[in-house]
Symmetry: C2
Subunit: 401 residues, 2 copies
């Protein structure tokens, strides 16, 4: 039997459309066992809220209100990007001691797993008895160990629908369209654009992920070839694409507290690609004017209300309740992961040590891309991806011939 | 009784999420009266398809397939941006004569109404007996005469949901976020961001439309004030904002065949606003780092599948069937418009002369904005707007205090 005590749950890192499902999964599973979980406190702005003594007592929340919050995108407890330092650990345990906290659940990505791991280590060193769990979330789908990450399916659905719409738009007015998709190190979200393809000539016609090196020369050549063949070309490019050896395509300079470069919230990469392509086409096809446009999907991808994968929402809830179940089963720490037994789509959760998820991320396997590196390998990617996203809006076309 | 003959229907200008509803409205209403409408032909790429002899015979399409197409965003017949010149008129009537066309329906915005008007004039001059109707569509909602335009409600819904998500995202991680919304001359779509507000501190906190002059100085001052008060600031800015006297904020240079400047498909304006604000905050609040991001919604707004206003879809269908009904009622030419009798929301259609819609657009009334020009006047705007967009996804929050 786990030691009874108060619970602190927090959210950290970039929000997703279903991160509150995980929060409510933790809260409701804890509320079901008041003998063990004597109180459920939400840390406002993650560990910053713990240190500042800012908590939300979930006792005040009705089940109906929690369901409404679960279906609302972004982090209801608010988020933070802060890596715990040893002196933070001291402040955190002082606060935990004061409140009688024996269970800590932290929902986030690899940086959050790292902080959860550090807090777990600091607790051991301090001899403070604490169950310490990380619940996964990230639209990037780049956590190690787990088959996939809650948050990804919904963001992938947004990207797929956005490309479906843009593919139809471009078919109506022709030209070249480049869309920049989130994903600093992993191409998972960009690869999801492939779900937009329903007819043989549908875009995206080219897909560039960070798992393959990118050069402007090859990009211009690829796009020109599609454009000559179809009269249009729809392109998906990850914000994280880079040249050989990891060299930058655009250098934006800004870096966050985890050392991550700012890639989103700027249209710079899209404009660089569009301008390079305009210049190229003016040289090789000078006989006509070319319509080249770039959109950067930006933050719309991660918290769009109303475009949510049902599977993703369900599994995000499960990631929360599984962490509580692990505590009840006597586990002391870990990160919740998913695995997918073969056969029809279903998932199981399991607990993996925190340090197996912390810090580093996992790229998409290289063989999910074609060897040329300018498209996905559909036979590999789509069976993995489709169940996570679920049904997309039906689309019809006229047989224009 | 109108003169029996073949029908040509086409789509022109930027596509919308519901423009195929209007197409199917025309086609189905014509198919119901084969005695008058002997054949229904779709012009592929609008009048370009007529001149090139590229038609789609709707006889081949089942009702079920037409319904699927009606629910699919973008122009199923493909679109065009081409203003009819007198010599085009000659080619068009030669083709119409050959095919026995007596009814022409052209779906589009003000440029399309202008082309419909020109074709109608050329037909009269040539003594060619032709019923000539324009069916309205535009996400910009800027056509003259009509109360509102099919296509706007769905684009407004997308913008509202995007701002709902971004408001939640920004509340989780704080900072300043600027979103650039489509709308060259009219702020209607940008104004729709106001629908995202559900709680008193919800964003967008500032809304800039082209109907009020914009200066970077006032913008930086406004944003700083909100940011100091709430710790965050969400901003909606139209791509068409301009300085006093219509001066450019950013000069992108590219111009289309109607003399319209390219504003979308580039992140330039967002980056200019974000950089100006970063510089301003570094000066007036040098004590901390400021997170300032900009996203440009771009083409996602106009053809996003799965985010469609039901009212908009229904009225778009009605715009098509009303044009056919006008022909059956003995009208010779015109543009379909909507009016809204007072009381509960309902609409009626009527026919307005083509030249009352052609060419010029209509901005949003200035009193839909506050006198300071940095927000909408909610009491004016929202009763007009809400029925066009319909229900938005429910959102819940924790009472964090």
């Amino acid at each position: 039997m786990p030691i009874p005590g108060a619970v602190v749950v927090g959210q950290s890192g970039g929000p997703t459309a279903v991160i509150n499902q995980t929060l409510v999964g933790v809260v409701q599973a804890c509320r079901a066992r008041p003998d063990i979980f004597t109180k459920v406190l939400g840390a406002v702005h993650g560990i910053k809220g713990i240190m500042d003594g800012k908590f939300h007592d979930f006792a005040a929340e009705s089940d109906a209100q929690l369901e409404l919050v679960a279906g609302t995108p972004s982090a209801a407890l608010r988020s933070v990007r802060h890596k715990a330092a040893p002196e933070d650990g001291k402040r955190i345990f002082a606060r935990f001691q004061e409140l009688g906290v024996r269970h800590f659940f932290y929902i986030g990505g690899n940086d959050t797993a790292e902080t959860t791991h550090l807090i777990n280590e600091y607790a051991r060193q301090a001899g403070y008895d604490l169950n310490c769990f990380h619940c996964p979330k990230t639209i990037d789908n780049d956590l190690r160990v787990t088959d996939h990450c809650p948050g990804y399916g919904s963001a992938a659905k947004f990207v797929a629908q956005a490309f479906m719409g843009d593919n139809l738009d471009l078919a109506a007015l022709a030209g070249i369209k480049i869309n920049i998709v989130m994903g600093r190190n992993a191409g998972w979200l960009t690869a999801a654009s492939a779900l937009a393809r329903q007819f043989p000539d549908d875009g995206p016609h080219l897909i560039y992920c960070p798992e393959a090196d990118f050069t402007l020369e090859a990009f211009c050549r690829d796009a020109e070839a599609v454009y000559r063949r179809l009269g249009r070309c729809l392109i998906a490019a990850s914000e994280g694409i880079h040249g050989p050896g990891g060299s930058d395509i655009v250098d934006l300079g800004e870096v966050d507290s985890h050392g991550n470069k700012q890639l989103s919230g700027s249209g710079a990469l899209g404009d660089v690609l569009a301008n390079a392509l305009k210049k190229h086409l003016a040289k090789v096809m000078p006989e006509k004017k070319h319509r080249v446009r770039a959109d950067t999907f930006g933050y719309l991808q991660r918290c769009f209300p109303g475009v949510v994968s049902e599977v993703d929402a369900r599994e995000a809830r499960q990631a929360g309740s599984a962490a509580v179940a692990a505590v009840l089963a006597g586990e002391r720490s870990g990160s919740i992961a998913f695995r997918r037994p073969s056969g029809d789509y279903r998932v199981e959760t399991f607990v993996t040590p925190l340090q197996t998820v912390a810090k580093e991320t996992k790229p998409m396997p290289r063989d999910f891309l074609t060897s040329a590196g300018n498209d996905v390998a559909s036979a590999r990617l789509l069976p993995y991806l489709r169940p996570l996203v679920g049904a997309l809006p039906p689309v019809g076309r006229l047989a224009l011939g």
